[in-house]
């Protein structure tokens, strides 16, 4: 073949690549792959993986969503964060049943196929582990990616049956005030949940982003409590016991309670606060040089919609209001974006969200003053990324 360099125009070359043409890319010269039943990611796309730590017990712990490598507000099902207490069970939907009992008029059993025949609703919602961003309490800022620090939150379109519908079918009695939910995993995890939350917007979720739930997210069914700390959205849901008082089980005493500096602990601190994190730029995504750079991140609140997100590039001296990506939905991740032109001098980037109730994301100092460094849960402090003169990005406390 004649290659690039041949004289163009009136040349008499007869090769298809005559007249100074170099070969088209290989992708245009041979038929591509066939149609398939379930598409796979590209090679580089497949490199995006959940952040899985080294654990003494590989089924007990968390894997994080690499938020800084993703876009929009929907987390692919395969990258939704995980938090398990003894691994991911394989459950046969044909034999799995949900029991509703306790302070009800008629205890009931529901098979998976039964629940599939109930009226459904879909909601785009975040799920966040109470321990997300807990490392922000460390004395020195941990140099880790936004996903490593904050990856115990994900967003999805969940579809299922309104929980109040099932509770109503069993018939609640006067003393009912709490519901114990239990999962069919090897931890047999139980959690006591206020009945008021169960009768609000709670659902028994069956689908996630259009497909049946994945095992790690609780297939065949899970409890889903919008805006509430993730652990209470019990996966592999097996039993709901209506009670007059909480059971004070391990997950709501030993874990998922918020120890204060005076040694007392707040219990049933269930609703997640208003929060935002800048994902781009962030640690590990250094800038190439001075010039235009979009500042982008996610904001959410367990109380409802995000009202506004403010961004600062000068460590909080001044703030500008970011654009919110539509639609802005209650108890869902909202993408925010702010155009920025880096002039090459060091800069400290921060974001601060306000939710529909007027609650404002707290600065770290205020959070520490109220909570103490060892709280570990419900960390929604304003975070700061330091852009250094060479474009490298460090995690700092502003």
């Amino acid at each position: 073949l004649l290659m690039a360099g041949a004289i163009t125009g009136g040349g008499l070359a007869t090769s298809v690549f005559a007249a100074g043409r170099s070969p088209p890319p290989a992708s245009m010269l041979q038929p591509g792959a066939a149609l398939s039943g379930y598409g796979a990611r590209s090679r580089s796309g497949a490199a995006i993986q959940r952040i899985v730590p080294e654990l003494p017990f590989p089924g007990t712990g968390s894997s994080r969503t690499p938020l800084q490598l993703l876009e929009g507000t929907i987390t692919p099902n395969g990258l939704h964060f995980e938090r398990h207490h003894n691994g991911v069970p394989q459950i046969d939907p044909a034999t799995h049943e949900l029991l509703v009992h306790g302070l009800v008029r008629q205890p009931l059993l529901f098979r998976y196929e039964d629940l599939l025949r109930y009226p459904r609703e879909s909601r785009v919602l975040f799920l966040e582990c109470s321990g997300n961003s807990g490392a922000l309490g460390a004395p020195e800022p941990v140099q880790a990616s936004a996903g490593q620090l904050n990856g115990l939150v994900s967003g999805a379109e969940w579809t299922g049956v309104r929980l109040s519908r099932l509770l109503g079918e069993a018939g609640l009695t006067g003393e009912a005030a709490w519901v114990q939910a239990e999962g069919a995993d090897a931890a047999g995890m139980v959690r006591s949940i206020p009945l008021s939350i169960c009768l609000d917007d709670a659902m028994v979720a069956l689908f996630q982003n259009g497909e049946p739930l994945r095992p790690e997210q609780g297939f065949p069914m899970r409890l889903l409590l919008p805006g509430i700390e993730g652990n209470a959205s019990v996966k592999w849901l097996r039993r709901l016991k209506v009670m007059a008082a909480p059971a004070f089980s391990r997950e709501e005493t030993s874990k998922y309670t918020d120890l204060l500096p005076d040694g007392k602990a707040e219990q049933f601190s269930l609703r997640m606060g208003v929060k935002s994190i800048i994902l781009n730029p962030s640690y590990g995504l250094d800038l190439h040089g001075a010039g235009y750079q979009e500042i982008s991140g996610l904001a959410w609140s367990g109380r409802g919609s995000i009202r506004k997100v403010e961004v600062s590039a000068d460590g909080g001296a001044t703030w500008g209001e970011a654009a919110l990506g539509g639609p802005v939905l209650p108890k869902a991740l909202t993408r925010f974006r702010m155009p920025w032109r880096w002039n090459g001098a060091p800069a400290t980037l921060m974001s601060r969200a306000t939710d529909e109730t007027g609650a404002v994301q707290p600065l770290r100092a205020a959070w520490l003053a109220q909570s103490g460094a060892s709280k570990g849960y419900h960390s929604n402090v304003v975070q700061s990324w330091r852009v250094q003169a060479d474009g490298k990005i460090a995690h700092v406390y502003a």
Binding site: F110, G171, A247, A265, E266, Q267
Partner: protein, 177 residues
């Protein structure tokens, strides 16, 4: 709940009545008040032996120093700069400890322990820090009567609509560095 209980017209009503036998089989939960505790009993000595055989490998000798959560010690540390949260120092009630051990431990073989073994384990673990006597024998009644050191350590957020976040308690210090 009359309105909710009567909302049936737009629903298929597929729940099947669950018998007391089915409920008993599916629900092994124990409440803070001891409700659900089974017959049986166990002593500190029996629990020590079971612990050595089935728990020590992960939780360490006498409940601390292993690769899994510490279970003993830490009493009195909660208000210090370095709080140590353990069963002994932090849990407010004893019956849920029975519940948790029976349903979730040992990690490698959950729900394999006999009820007497669980009573023994609770007795042994709580004897390490003197919460129960070295010769204690626990059954449903005596276990329920145990008063844990942190019994009064929790503040329920029920009256704050279960929202304990910092921003609902103190306003942010505007513009602070």
């Amino acid at each position: 709940y009359a309105h909710l209980n009567s909302r049936r017209v737009d629903s298929p009503q597929l729940g099947r009545p669950a018998s007391p036998d089915v409920i008993r089989r599916m629900d092994i939960s124990v409440g803070a008040d001891g409700g659900g505790l089974p017959p049986g009993a166990g002593t500190v000595a029996q629990g020590r032996a079971t612990y050595a055989a089935k728990c020590q490998m992960c939780h360490g000798e006498a409940g601390t120093g292993g690769i899994a959560d510490p279970l003993t010690g830490g009493i009195g540390s909660l208000a210090t700069a370095k709080p140590v949260k353990t069963v002994a120092s932090y849990w407010p009630y004893a019956p849920p400890l029975f519940d948790y051990i029976r349903r979730a431990m040992p990690l490698t073989a959950p729900q394999s322990l006999k009820d007497d073994e669980v009573y023994g384990l609770v007795a042994y673990l709580l004897s390490v820090d003197g919460i129960v006597a070295p010769d204690a024998r626990l059954d449903a009644g005596s276990l329920t009567r145990i008063r844990m050191p942190n019994r009064k350590g929790f503040i329920s957020l029920e009256d704050r609509d279960f929202d304990g976040n910092a921003e609902r308690i103190a306003p942010p210090v505007e513009g602070a560095r």
